[in-house]
């Protein structure tokens, strides 16, 4: 509910009720429909949609309104009649003059607002989770992306003491290397995060780690930003290729630790 600007919607509904009561004509109805849909897209949603999308919606609406109006001769004339009356009947002369001046003024204002909007650096979309390569080579070992799993995951059941050791090693690796970017609490808000674009991933987010297989996370840790395909804008990502700094074991340890710290589990093998 909070995604919708309730007062606006209520006002529009009230206006519609008023028009039913006053038996508004077709022209008024069409004008009203168009205006209220426009107002809804522009101001009715609390999560603003980009101007380009609004433009598309408004275009579609306009088409719909026009084709409705011209769908039969009768409707067409009902729609056109008020306009024609406005133009020819002397008693509307003042209104006509106001429109003749008002519409160009509005157009001019629009141009002005467009031109004085502050400059912005161009922005680019990026794929956050692009498809990984089928296999990668880390420290001379081949890792198959579909079948590989964290080799220490099973220790949780099989050897709790060894599990704890790997977890502690992961903790060390994380705080010696990762927290500047991904943050002490792993919220993607480390002390360097404000200087990076894209920002470091937030591991508290349920949509990130739990949605990824641990082999995917291993790929991202080992190959970092430079290992991304072009869609992931590898040139902008500060994510280091950790194979330059860490052993394979350390990379799996930290992989284990970032899941465990957040009480998450990797997405199981074979799930897509």
């Amino acid at each position: 509910m909070s995604a919708i600007n309730l007062p606006l919607v209520l006002a529009l509904l009230a206006a519609a009720g008023l028009m039913v009561w006053r038996r508004a004509n077709t022209f008024t109805w069409l004008l009203f429909t168009w205006l209220s849909l426009w107002a809804f897209f522009k101001f009715g949603l609390t999560v603003p949609i980009p101007q380009s999308v609004v433009t598309i919606y408004v275009g579609i609406m306009t088409l719909a309104v026009v084709s409705y109006a011209s769908s039969s001769r009768e409707r067409l004339s009902e729609t056109v009649q008020p306009i024609v009356r406005l133009i020819v009947e002397p008693r509307f002369r003042l209104l006509l003059a106001a429109l003749l001046i008002g519409l160009p003024a509005l157009a001019a204002y629009n141009v002005y607002a467009d031109m004085s909007a502050p400059l912005e650096a161009p922005g680019f979309g990026r794929e956050i989770h692009p498809a990984p390569p089928p296999e990668i080579t880390v420290h001379d070992e081949t890792v198959n992306m579909t079948t590989a799993d964290n080799p220490y995951l099973h220790l949780h059941e099989d050897d709790p003491a060894a599990w704890e050791e790997h977890l502690e090693s992961g903790r060390r690796v994380y705080y010696e290397n990762c927290f500047w970017c991904h943050g002490d609490g792993m919220g993607g808000d480390g002390m360097f995060a404000h200087g990076l674009n894209p920002v470091p991933s937030n591991f508290n987010d349920v949509g990130t780690l739990p949605a990824l297989q641990s082999s995917f996370v291993h790929w991202r840790i080992a190959k970092g930003g430079p290992g991304l395909p072009d869609g992931g804008t590898p040139w902008d990502s500060a994510m280091p290729a950790w194979e330059k700094f860490l052993t394979t074991e350390e990379m799996w340890d930290v992989n284990l630790f970032i899941y465990e710290f957040n009480d998450f589990e990797p997405r199981a093998l074979g799930q897509h």
Binding site: R73, S77, V80, Q81, I83, V84, R85, I87, V88, L96, L99, L100, L103, P104, A107, A108, Y109, N110, V111, Y112, M115, L119, E120, A121, P122, F124, H139, R171, R172, Y174, Y175, E176, N177, F179, W180, G183, D184, G185, D189, G190, M191, F192, H194, G195, L196, N197, G224, P226, D230, T233, W235, D236, A238, P240, K244, F245, L246, T247, E250, F261
Partner: protein, 606 residues
């Protein structure tokens, strides 16, 4: 019992009662219950131990790689207190720092912990030091009066106090953290500590408000050289001082931007004509960009000195000029530096630890020894820098100060370094541009922001402030940086009151690199090296990619496009009115019997 004695007794009781009434605010030794401390330990072990050490001794995993170091809770010494110098903090003081953290240090805020969790962790922290059991170590919080209005007189009086009290010795005349003794300051851990840059309020570790400032110099920051002025300054003078310190900074937050707008000028750009140049740059908007340590490639800089840079640009028919500014506690302009100086792995940490288990899988990938074999050997490793033309400086400095480095144990920033004439490495700065832009209409593939990559190289306009001239390099990654001479970049530099200013100029057109066309968005990135912090090569502050936009040379006024839009709409309107009216009058003339309205004219004859 005599009446008098009775009186005396009553008086004594009254005094005692009065004391009791006054006391509770002071010495509330509240160490929490066993359960609370145990619950605090759980929070601490998960969120705090990796820095403050699992035993509270300040020796966590991150300790060698951050500055300032995490607080050692066994000492009972705290920086951010409302209590007098040398006293223990109140629970509220601790709560404040745990909730909001200390900006621009590794101490984060913990807004997600509940009030109970924070209280419990406070009890647990207190259990690390016996001081908290000693009522004598508790002091009453100071009064922080409401700030005075920042009038000109108040600020002027504050400036006088600032000079009289010697704040400038550490913080510098203009408050940029460049006082004479700034390079020599060390904290209790023996690490160099920067005197705060008072012009950048957002970096104050204890908070940016007037109340925070008042508290800071009234109670002092224990464990650092920042003294308490409670005894030497009257309350009112302290309030004026607050207004002066506050006036040194423009804003509470840095307002980081993403775009430089290069302003057009008709005039020639002459780097030697300082006055004219300053006037030209006054017309160009200034943007501040965040800088962070380079920690993605070997030679990492975990605790960079410089945290932001300001930049602006102007251009004329043939040339473009950039000006960058940043604060630095002293000008290091006698050492060496270059974008490709190798940084041994051990130099990433601020402790030389012999263990060095870092990256120990195959050891070879770094190419050179990762840790000093012995005192004499490790400078040797670095000095092997064939391409460096100024290495004799470095050698000299090293010869002078090598003894000092090791004389002070693991302290890199030993005072020996600071008082010697220059550091081994000089200050430096570089602008980075893509070597080429994607052709119009193609998706933009930028070079890797860390000195480029093999497919997409970058151009660096590098200024070593020892020489003050711009050298150009082509980067195809940190390991593949080569000098180029395709374009001539000029530069002038100056250091004034803690601020470096470097102005670059180049022809807009380039055959080998990027050309700056009008109304073009060109990616730009920055690197800054602080020689004092031993920054060189990859150990530097850097930015991600931002943009410079060359604004149109002819200032487009909105009038003509506005008129055009209005006229087009008006023309369409008039056309419709004309057509409809003609049709209507034709209809009337043609059909005398038309009585059923205008729409009838359009109805087909049956």
């Amino acid at each position: 019992m005599t009446v008098r004695a009775n009186h005396r007794f009553q008086a004594a009781a009254l005094v005692a009662a009065g004391l009791l009434l006054a006391l509770p605010a002071v010495a509330q030794v509240d160490l929490g219950t066993e359960e609370q401390r145990a619950a605090g330990k759980v929070v601490y072990d998960k969120y705090c131990g990796q820095c403050h050490g699992d035993t509270g001794d300040g020796n966590g995993y991150v300790t060698p790689r951050v500055q300032p170091k995490p607080r050692d809770f066994t000492t009972g010494k705290y920086k951010f207190r409302t209590t007098p110098n040398g006293m223990l903090p109140t629970d509220d003081d601790l709560r404040r720092i745990i909730e909001i953290g200390a900006p621009y240090t590794s101490m984060p805020g913990w807004p997600n912990l509940t009030a109970a969790e924070i209280q419990n962790v406070i009890y647990y922290i207190k259990s690390f030091s016996p001081d908290f059991e000693n009522p004598d170590r508790y002091g009453e919080p100071i009064d922080i009066p409401r700030p005075l209005e920042s009038t000109e007189e108040s600020i002027a009086r504050g400036r006088v106090v600032y000079e009289e009290q010697g704040c400038a010795n550490c913080h510098g005349d203009q408050g940029r953290g460049d006082g004479n003794s700034a390079p020599t300051l060390v904290d209790d851990a023996g690490d160099h500590i920067k005197a705060a840059d008072l012009t950048q309020r957002w970096t104050y570790r204890g908070g940016p408000t007037k109340e925070d400032i008042y508290r800071t110099f009234s109670t002092g920051l224990n464990g650092t050289p920042m003294p308490s002025y409670a005894d030497s300054l009257e309350v009112e003078d302290r309030q004026h001082l607050v207004n002066y310190v506050y006036s040194l900074g423009e804003a509470d937050d840095p307002n980081y931007g993403t775009l430089i707008t290069a302003a057009w000028t008709e005039e020639a750009i002459d780097l030697q004509d300082t006055e004219a140049l300053d006037t030209q740059f006054e017309t160009a908007p200034m943007t501040r960009f965040p800088l962070v340590g380079q920690i993605s490639e070997p030679g990492r800089n975990f605790y960079p000195s410089v945290t932001s840079i300001e930049a602006q640009a102007i251009y004329n028919r043939g040339e473009i000029a950039f000006r960058v500014r940043w604060h630095d506690l002293r000008a290091d302009n006698s050492g060496k530096n270059s974008p490709y100086l190798e940084v041994p792995m051990w130099d990433e940490d601020n402790d030389i630890v012999a263990s060095g288990d870092e990256g120990g899988d195959d050891g070879g990938f770094f190419g050179i020894e990762e840790e000093p074999a012995d005192d004499a050997g490790f400078f040797g490793v670095e000095e092997v820098e064939p391409q460096d033309d100024s290495s004799f400086f470095g050698v000299e400095t090293v010869d002078d100060s090598a003894g000092d480095f090791f004389g002070t144990g693991d302290d890199f920033f030993g005072t020996g370094d600071a008082t010697s004439d220059g550091a081994e490495f000089s200050d430096a700065v570089a602008l980075q541009f893509p070597a080429s832009l994607a052709p119009e209409g193609q998706p933009e593939l930028k070079p890797y922001f860390l000195f480029g990559d093999a497919q997409n190289p970058v151009d660096l306009w590098f200024v070593n402030l020892t020489h003050g001239v711009a050298d150009t390099f082509r980067g195809r990654g940190s390991e593949a940086i080569e000098p180029t001479e395709a374009d001539i970049v000029e530069a002038v530099t100056s250091y004034d009151q803690g601020e470096w200013t470097v102005t670059y100029k180049r022809r807009r057109a380039s055959r080998a690199g990027v050309s700056f066309a009008e109304q073009q968005y060109t990616p730009i990135a920055f690197s800054v090296w602080d020689g004092f912090n031993r920054e060189r090569g990859n150990k530097r502050s850097l930015s991600s990619w931002f943009y410079v936009y060359t604004e149109p040379s002819v200032q487009q006024t909105a009038t003509i496009p506005m008129l055009r839009a209005a006229l087009i709409v008006l023309a369409i309107e008039l056309l419709i009115v004309f057509l409809v009216r003609r049709r209507a009058s034709q209809g009337k003339a043609g059909e005398e019997s038309a009585s059923h309205g205008l729409a009838g004219t359009e109805a087909p004859a049956v």
